[in-house]
Amino acid sequence: MENNIWEAFGLSKEEYQKIKEILGREPNTVELGMFGVMWSEHCSYKNSKPVLKLFPTKGDRVIQGPGENAGIVDIGDGLAVAMKIESHNHPSAIEPYQGAATGVGGIVRDIFAMGARPIALLDSLRFGDLEDEKVKYLFSGVVAGIAGYGNCIGIPTVGGEVYFNSSYNGNPLVNAMCIGLIEHGKIRKGRAEGVGNPVMVVGASTGRDGIGGASFASEELSEKSEEKRPAVQVGDPFMEKLLLEACMEIFETDYVVGIQDLGAAGLTSALSETASRADSGIEIDVSLVPRREEGMTPYEVMLSESQERMLLIVKKGKEEEVKKIFRKWGLSASVIGFVTDDGMLRVKDNGKIVAEIPAKALAENAPVYYREYRKPQYMDELSFLDLNEIPVPEDMNKVLLKLFSSPNLCSRKWIYRQYDYMVRTDTIVVPGGDASVLRVKGTKKGIAVTTDCNSRYCYLNPFVGGQIAVAEAARNIVATGAKPLAITDGLNFGNPEKPEIFWQFREAVLGISDACEKLGIPVVSGNVSFYNETEGKAIYPTPIIGMVGLIEDIDRVVTHYFKDEGDIVVLIGENKEELGASEYLSVIYGLEKGKVPGIDLNNEKVIQEFLLKCVEGNLIKSCHDVSDGGLAIALAECSFAKNLGIEIDINSDIRQDAILFGESQSRFIITIEPEKLNLLEKLIKTNKIPYSILGKVKGTDIIIRINGVTKINLAVNQIKKIWEGTLECFVG
């Protein structure tokens, strides 16, 4: 063998040595390929594991924490929600449509592999500068890919977020999240139990697509990445729909012992993980795996990432019944092997052994790296911002309009109009608000879902950025009247072998963990995507928080927009002079610097709990959280839906641009009927909540006065037109 054979498989010399020790011999090519993918960062989390342990993962409602295909949380009455987010960044950078489409397909399989019926999808996306032609192509392609796959399988895409920043120019982020609904007793696990039980592969046949995808996802992008186009899988949503329905049908029987999605690292991963979890072994013969191409080698079959496949471990003697159900849906189901008790993953080809590796060595015993970390130099430089050098603009109308015509603050309708967000008729609060809400048919319950992350904050201060990502996601959930239940996190960073990147990663995880502890929201699943770099330049750290919340009475759901003229507009929380890291500074002054807004998580919790009390008491008519773009942006956003204006008076001695566009945390805009104001103020005072009465809903103009001087005076329609048209202007 060549001296550096390991390099071709993405392994280090030390890792190769360790493999030799495990096997007690030189590995063959098939085995090296299997180790290569399973010990990649994508599959093994070898760089992130020690840090991920910091997440709080326990809670009264947690039924399944990290480690399975998806996390599961209890929503009461014997029902539970399965949730998971996953990245498909590298494939999407090379082939946006298929990359995004198969990202959706993969996350959906993770959910129904738990036995849950997928009920909603969300997508958290990041792209580079939207002026750039390549970025436009990636953006349009990714949105079309999500639409193409999600619409076809009949799962509504109800939410997500998209932001543009030049740090993502060569490396977009595509994180897809899926949630599913399940009864407690019906949860399925990815475990190969029961010696002698048949192991089946069901769904699509196996081709040469996606070979080495997991390894590809574990290296930086470069000019050569185009050559990896064959490592991008091709999706067939129709096949997935059939697979989904066939699996849901088979879950009604007791034939299935264990089930696992064939995702990254294909059969190698599914076989070794199911065996490893059950402390068993598996023996298969690759010649029994249905192929879509002739002449495939055992290596190719074991590493193929062909989509729309599942691994089933079924009760012995039930093979024919299982096949019958899959046949009904026009799908193949083939026995490829059986469960053993020797802990080995043994792969044969027409009876001849081609690979023999302890399952645990592949699935659990990848080397763990305790990476070096170091605070990056840019941190101190960028945190300094002298506000005296930034003039307060004279014409705030102009500023407001300019902000709404920037890609980060404009309407997302151009995107979500391409997604079927209504199919299954559960979407009670549609995209465009704070969080989307789905009803649970047959109950009064509603499930609120959102994703959130401000990566500029995370770049300038990953710890606080991590805290804010959690707090802001929770605010989105609370704004609908739902109580946050759990988190799934999509952690997107650069190359972890660089100490500065690893520092960002570690700090962000510490910040997220801190917020999770203080707000009482556990992490139940997640995904790490490293190596998001192009030509050596990393993306902004982007730890995306996917969050699920529960509202017990769907009739109590609150939406973000103003309802009726005459209602009183109240700000919950405080305006502070915080302009650092704001969208305003970025758009108006081209500055991405300054101190990230401060956050007091104890205060955050008090405010969020207070709002939930208001919702429970049926006090408020609308609720919107104040985030990117600040108070003026948030107020305008509440005006658009019903073309209702406002007349607002603010008295304050802080900078006027900070009042209007600063991004101080822990703020909500609520509206209330005038008759209920006394009651609200009483409740506010008992709970010691900072607040101010801003004004009222009135007419069709947005009028904001500061210290008696009119600063903003624009027709709602005029702003709305710009807000709605911006994305289309960029991409058409």
Binding site: A144, A147, N151, C152, I153, G154, D236, P237, F238, M239, K241, L242, W329, G330, Y416, R417, Q418, Y419, D420, Y421, M422, V423, R424, T425, T427, I428, R439, K441, I554, D555
Partner: protein, 222 residues
């Protein structure tokens, strides 16, 4: 009174139609598998939305060869009620039960939105409880809803009063803004908008429920 909702491989809105019929209107309803041959017990059959056979080749082009479609053609011939919604409409045009074809939206993009619709014909079993000329709001969700007929056929449709729904504004490029058409006899309706998504107060819109109630009213009045 028995309703049936056909499941083709790739149907998505089967569950939504079923839910409105069983849980909102509390009528008898069954799923009909696309390979079933006996549909004699039904009074009205729904062909639901979705992506039958992945919409591969052409929307509805493969589904129309499903065994159940032979039976549905006969069923329609007998004057029984057939309604195709979205993908169901596409299948009905492919099967020749309705005139015209559905092409890609003129924007070449999938459109999911609430749109305004005018009820053009309230003399069908499906629309008898609507006011003629009334503007209603219904969701659409399609990539191929651009209804096409040639001029002669359009004239004929108008003459026979076969245009049942029209979009208030041009949303997808459809000829004459047609959103739904029926056959000459009026017992087969195809429409791109989704009434089953607008049949409950909690969904913020119940304009679609009137369509379901019209069918019930018609069947009860026979």
């Amino acid at each position: 009174m028995n309703f049936g909702v056909v499941i083709f491989p790739g149907s998505n809105c089967d569950v939504d139609c079923f839910y409105v019929l069983r849980d909102v209107l509390k009528v008898n309803v069954d799923y009909i598998w696309h390979e079933d041959r006996d549909i004699s017990k039904y009074d009205c059959i729904f062909l639901p939305g979705g992506f039958s056979y992945g919409d591969y080749l052409r929307t509805g082009a493969i589904a129309r060869f499903s065994p159940v479609m032979d039976e549905i053609c006969e069923f329609a011939e007998k004057g029984k009620l057939v309604i195709g919604i979205c993908n169901g409409f596409q299948i009905l045009t492919e099967a020749g039960l309705l005139p015209g074809a559905l092409r890609r939206n003129k924007t070449l993009k999938f459109i999911c939105d609430n749109v305004e619709i005018i009820v053009e014909n309230n003399q069908t079993p499906f629309t008898r409880l609507y006011e003629k000329g009334k503007k209603i709001s219904l969701p659409i969700a399609h990539g191929e809803g651009n209804y096409y007929v040639d001029e002669n056929t359009l004239e004929e449709l108008k003459k026979n009063n076969q245009i049942v729904f029209k979009y208030v504004e041009d949303v997808n490029g459809s000829t004459d803004r047609v959103a739904g058409v029926c056959n000459k006899k009026g017992n087969v309706l195809g429409m791109m908008p989704h009434p089953e998504r607008a049949s409950e107060k909690i969904l913020g819109n119940s304009d679609g429920l009137i369509l379901f109630k019209s069918i019930l009213d018609y069947l009860l009045s026979r």
